[in-house]
Structures are given as C-alpha cells and as structure tokens.
C-alpha cells in the first residue's frame, strides 16, 4: 500500500487521460522515495501513499490542496469554514480502530493497519457537491467500502449500513460548545446497495498523502453522488442494520435533510436553490455552473433509485 518504488506504467495504458494520471502517481512515487514507509502517526505529519489510477476518476482539474484543506465543514471542530483547519490538529488519529458489527456473520474491530493491509489503494478524483451550493474536485485515495463489508459477511437481513464518527469532547472543541449544533456523535447511513456500489469508497488520503485531520483523518467515507455531509469523517464504527439508521442532519432538521440526500438540481433545499453551484478556488470571478443530477454520476447510480419519487425520498 505504501510506496517504496514508483509504480510502473504499462504502455497499453497510455491514452491522454492515463498519461495525466500516471504522471500524477509517478510524481507521488518520486516524492515518496526515501521516505519511511510508516503511516503518519498524526494527521499533521502527512505520509505518502501509493495509489493506482482509477477509470472512475473524473478528468476535471482538481481543486487546489490549499482550498480542500482550508474550507471544511466539520462541526466537531467549529462551525466556521476555517475552524477545522485551525482546530483539528488536536485529534489523535493513531492508534485508530474501526468496529464493524451488526447484522454480519464475522463482526470485528479492525486496527486501521489491518483494515488497510489487504486492500489496493486507488486514486479517485471525484466531484464533491456541498448542500450549501459550492463544489470541489478532489483527488481522494481510498478503496471500495464493499471490500470491508464483504470481509465481515453481511447477513441476508442486513438492509442498511450505519456509520459513526469518533466523539472526543477533550479533542473536539465543537463538542464543548455552549450548546450543541448537532446531536453528537455524528452519524450517517446508506442503503446496503448504495454502500456496496463501486463508487462508494473509504478514504485514507488526499493528493497522494494521508488525510489531514480537517478532512476526516484517518478514515472517512466518500459517496460522490450525494451531498457532502453524507461522506462522514473519522469513522470509528460501521454497523449493518435492518432498519434505516438515523442520520445527523435529518435528525436536526428532517424537512431540510433527508436520508438519501442525493445531489439533485430539481429538488431544492427549502432554504436555497440547488440548481447551480459555485466552484471553489476560482477567485472572485468564479462562475456558477449548473448542478447535475446525482452530481454527474447518473449513469452509474441512477438505477439504484429506479421507480423512486426523488422529491419524496430526498
């Protein structure tokens, strides 16, 4: 998983986009040469990750790292966009373990290293659309969530997957606030078929390095066709359930945030339009662009919702 030598480029892979992607991983490889192969003990000390390019990546230009790491919604570290970058360094991300339980035949508590040992990390360049009407393009490093779910063998009765963020008031100033903006810990959920979808990934890195704390270190979910808040950060528990699990934002305001929260320009948030989005990192003259159904991933995911009324299941 970690780089010790630069990945090889197979000549067969050389099409313009692959050239671009390989150049990226080649650069990562070069940068990693000579670095220790240990994961960063703290999110602040990023370590290089080896990741192979993925055909599921978009070829859009990624948003600058500076913006991805300084414009975050991570309310455990404050409600301001720059609060997480300022405050999240206090989170201890090593050691880290993730409990996977519920309706599975082999429940387990995985050490992060054990969780990652058998997987091949991929670079997935995904669009991210925030419910607040802005968007980024982010080169994540991760692997399909399905690999973990398959390892624990879901029972036939499992219909949903619930996720939980770590809750540490002594390391998270947002949890010590005068009153709670959300009911902690942060929880999220997916339908099992959404969780098993190849686009759904567990993510450990960003721009070829381990995740900074403000982006959800050491391990987070990324579901690119849903609004950003579904992609829960700093996961400590994954539970398979029969009933639809509660999710933080829909608990806070069920009329404004549904369980599905698929990106959909036709279904407005009650307080703002979802028809357009403002791309991050393009300065004061950034031009709004139309938001796409399922954030542009309709070809891959629309069949998951065939026959459903998306205005009702928002």
């Amino acid at each position: 998983m970690l780089i010790s030598h630069a990945p090889l480029i197979r000549p067969s892979e050389i099409t313009p986009r692959d050239v671009y992607l390989n150049r990226r991983s080649l650069m990562l490889g070069a940068a990693a040469a000579g670095l220790s192969a240990a994961m960063a003990p703290r999110g602040a000390e990023a370590a290089q990750l080896e990741a192979s390019p993925s055909p599921l990546s978009t070829d859009e230009e990624p948003t600058a790292l500076e913006h991805i790491t300084n414009y975050n919604n991570y309310y455990e570290f404050g409600t301001g966009k720059e609060d997480p970058a300022k405050n999240a360094h206090t989170l201890t991300t090593k050691p880290w373990s993730v409990k996977v339980d519920g309706l599975v035949s082999r429940p387990a508590e995985f050490d992060l290293e054990d969780l990652l040992k058998p997987v091949t990390l991929e670079e997935r360049i995904y669009r991210l659309r925030c419910v607040e009407g802005w968007s980024m393009v982010i080169p994540w490093v991760g692997f399909p969530l399905s690999e973990v779910l398959n390892r624990v063998e879901p029972l036939g009765s499992a219909k949903f997957v619930a996720f939980e963020t770590v809750m540490r008031p002594d390391e998270m100033p947002g949890l010590r606030a005068f009153f709670n903006v959300l009911d902690w810990p942060y929880v999220e959920g997916l339908r099992l078929d959404e969780a098993m979808h190849p686009l759904t990934i567990l993510t450990v890195g960003l721009y070829g390095e381990t995740l900074p704390n403000q982006n959800g270190a050491p391990i987070r979910l990324v579901v690119p066709w849903k609004y950003g808040f579904k992609s829960i950060k700093s996961i400590v528990r994954i539970t398979l359930t029969e009933e639809q699990p509660p999710t933080s934002w829909s608990k806070q305001n069920p009329r404004e945030y549904g369980f599905y929260s698929n990106v959909n320009p036709e279904v407005d948030h009650p307080r703002w339009s979802q028809a357009t989005e403002l791309p991050i990192g393009q300065g004061i003259f950034a031009k709004r662009k139309p938001t796409l159904l399922f954030n542009g991933y309709a070809d891959q995911v629309a069949q998951l919702y065939a026959g459903m009324d998306l205005t009702k299941f928002y």
């Binding site: 300084n70 806070q252 009650p270 307080r271 403002l278 004061i284």
Partner: protein, 215 residues
C-alpha cells in the same frame, strides 16, 4: 448688537466645521471595511470561496451599522452621550452596505441571472427577508436629507420608524442563512431583540403616562 452676533457666529461656525469633519471621518472609517474586503477579493486573498465571503462580510457589516444606528437613542437615554448628529450618517452607511451586499449578490454571485434571482426572492425565505429589509431601506435613504425632513415633518419620523422592521427582518435573514444554530446569528438576533424591546418598552411607558392625563 452687531458685534455680539458676530462674536457668537464665530464659534458656531467652527462647531459646524468640526461636525462636518467628524462626519467625513465617519464616512471614511465606515467605508474602510468594504474597501478592505473588495481589495482582498480582487487580489485573491479571500480564501476558497471569495464570492460568498465577500457577500457575508458585506452582510455582517450592514447589520453592524444598522445596530450601531439603533444604539444611538438608548445610548443617549442611558448615558447622556448624544451621537444623534451622526445617526443619519450611520443610517446611510447601513444603506450603502446593504446596497453593496445586494449588488454583490446580483452581479458577482448571480451575474444578473434575473430568473434565478426572482426565483430566489420568491422561494427562499432568507432572501425574502433580506429583500424586505433592503426594500424598506431605500425610501428611508432617499428621505434622509434635510429637505425631506422639512417637507415630511411629522410623517418623516413615522416613516423612519420602519427601520425597526428592517432590523427584525435582517436578524431573521441572518438566522435563516446558516445551517443549524451557530452562535453568531443568535447573538446578533438577541442584540436586535433587546434594541427593539427597548423601544417598545419606552413606547408603552409613554402611552401609560399619557392615558391618565387624557382621561
């Protein structure tokens, strides 16, 4: 006689001059935050989402000037310090900031996409409240000069009492802009609530005092 008025006019003139100087300074200082955020915006120093940051900075400064304007009367009542002469300037600064805030939204954020803006005004409560506040500020700004004060007389004071509705709408606008219930909009809401409650209290007390006399 002649001598006396001449002597009296001298300090009065310089007092007027001092007032004008102070008022000009207030304008310059008042516009400084706007100049500063536009400077940061156009030199790409407003971070990841400069359009929204610009919008938010201008919005929060509008509200700050509005609150400052509304504090003039209680400040005089409670401490005897009178800034009444500067209240009009503060009110106009509120209006200019609202105008910049609104223009940023129209031109920089939505690029005059009138259809989207119209939909926003009708469908988004926070934009509806913002528009309501701004729409009321316009006639108040237009009638803020001496000529209008003289021409409208009693009606002028009545008209300018609409500023209380502006404050209420603006505070609600801010509450609705944000997700969940973070601290700042609640604090601003509380300040506006106290300032409006103060007026209401004063009004009720005055009416109670007047009623027995009329009976």
């Amino acid at each position: 006689m002649l001598q006396i008025t001449d002597v009296a006019r001298e300090p009065r003139l310089s007092k007027a001059l001092r007032f004008r100087l102070l008022r000009a300074t207030l304008y310059w200082v008042g516009f400084a935050p706007a100049v500063w955020v536009f400077y940061l915006g156009f030199t790409n120093q407003l971070g990841a989402n400069p359009v929204r940051t610009l919008e938010q900075e201008l919005g929060i400064w509008t509200l700050r000037f509005l609150i400052t304007t509304l504090m003039v009367t209680p400040l005089r009542d409670l401490t005897g310090i009178s800034l009444i002469r500067y209240r009009r300037t503060l009110g106009l600064l509120t209006f200019y900031y609202a105008l910049l805030h609104f223009t940023t939204y129209m031109l920089i954020d939505y690029r005059l996409d009138l259809q989207a803006i119209a939909a926003d005004i009708v469908k988004r409560p926070y934009i509806t409240f913002g528009m309501l506040a701004f729409a009321i500020l316009v006639p108040l700004a237009i009638t803020s000069n001496d000529r209008m004060v003289r021409r409208l007389r009693g009606a002028w004071a009545k008209l300018h009492r609409w500023v209380y509705l502006v404050a209420a709408a603006a505070a609600v606008h801010y509450l609705l802009v944000v997700k969940s219930w973070p601290m700042e909009p609640l604090v601003y809401f509380a300040i506006v609530a106290v300032l409006l409650a103060y007026r209401l209290g004063k009004h009720l007390r005055r009416r109670r005092r007047r009623r027995p006399a009329a009976a």
